[in-house]
Amino acid sequence: MKKLAKENIQFIDTYLKNSDVIFDDIRMEMVDHVATAVETEISNGDLRDFYYIFKDYMVKNKSIIYKQNRQYYKNSDKKIIKSMFKNAFSVKGIVIFLTVFLSLNFLNKVLSQSLFIQIMRALPFIIFLLFAGMYRFIGRNKKERFSSIERIAIYFMLIGQILNLYFQRAILRKTVILEQSVQLIIITSSLIFVLIVLMQVFFKFKREYQLKYKNVS
C-alpha cells in the first residue's frame, strides 16, 4: 500500500487542529484514520493528487469524524471519577485521609482556639491555590493538550466553588464553639483530601500520557 508523505500527514494534522480538534490524543487517532483511508483510496487505484482525495474524504465524513471529538468529555469524566474513587479508597488514600484528619486534630489540641480557627479557614484555600497553580503550570501546555488532563480543570473549578462558599461562611462566623470545631476538622480534612486525590489523578494521567504518546519513537 502506498504510504503518505510526512508533509501530507502534517497537512491532515493542521487541518484537523484548525477545525477545533484541539486535543492531541483525539487528533492523533483521527489523523491516522483519515490518512489510512486516503492511502486505501490511492491503493484502490485513485490516481488523483493527495489533496483532492483528502478533500473528498473530508466532505463525506467530516460530520461523523467531529462527532467523536465532541464525545471525549463523557469518557474523560468517567476516567477521572473512577480514578479518584480508586485512589480515595485505596490503603494509601485512607492513610492520607487519616494523616490529614489527625494532624488537624493535633493542631486543635495544641493551638489556641482563635489561631486554630484562623488556620482552618485559610488552609484549604492555600492548598487549593497551590495545587491549582501546579496543575496550571505543569499540566496545561498550549503545545500539548490532552483531553483527560484538560478536563480535570472542571473539577478544580468545582472544588474552588465549594471552597469559596465554605470560606465565606467560615469568615462570616466570628466564633466557633467546641462542638463545631470537630465538624470543621471533618469538613476541612475532606476538602484537603479531595484536592490531594485530584492531584494524584492529575499526575497519574500526566505519566500515562507521557508514556503512551510522548515517548514513542
Partner: protein, 112 residues
C-alpha cells in the same frame, strides 16, 4: 444499510469479539475487518467506533498501545484481562438474545 440501528446495541460485543481474535487492532482496521466479515452489510462509522473504543478503554476492558507507523502515531487497542472475561459474557448474552429473537421469528426453529 437500512438496519444499522439494529446493530448499534451489539457494537461493543463486535469490537470485543474482534479484539479477542486478534492480538491488537487500530480503529480503521476494525472498521475494515467488520466490513470484510459481513461482506459490506455492516459499516461501522468513525463517529460510532471511536466513542465506543474510548468507553471500553475507560471501563478498563481495553488497553492502549501507541506506536509510530508510517510517519504518524497509531493507537492500537487490545483486551485487558477484564476485557477477555467481559467478551465471554457479552457473547453469551448476545447468543441468548439471538435465541430469544429466533423464537419470535421462527417458533418451530426454537423447538428443535
Amino acid at each position: 444499510m437500512e438496519n444499522q440501528k439494529l446493530y448499534k446495541g451489539s457494537l461493543n460485543t463486535i469490537i470485543l469479539k474482534l479484539l479477542g481474535e486478534n492480538t491488537k487492532m487500530y480503529g480503521y482496521e476494525i472498521t475494515q475487518k467488520v466490513k470484510q466479515i459481513t461482506e459490506g452489510e455492516l459499516n461501522i462509522t468513525e463517529g460510532a467506533l471511536y466513542p465506543a473504543l474510548h468507553k471500553l478503554e475507560a471501563d478498563g476492558l481495553l488497553d492502549v498501545e501507541v506506536l509510530k507507523v508510517d510517519n504518524r502515531l497509531r493507537k492500537y487497542y487490545k483486551l485487558t484481562e477484564k476485557g477477555t472475561k467481559e467478551t465471554a459474557n457479552k457473547l453469551s448474552e448476545l447468543e441468548s438474545y439471538l435465541k430469544t429473537m429466533q423464537t419470535f421469528i421462527d417458533p418451530k426453529f426454537s423447538l428443535g
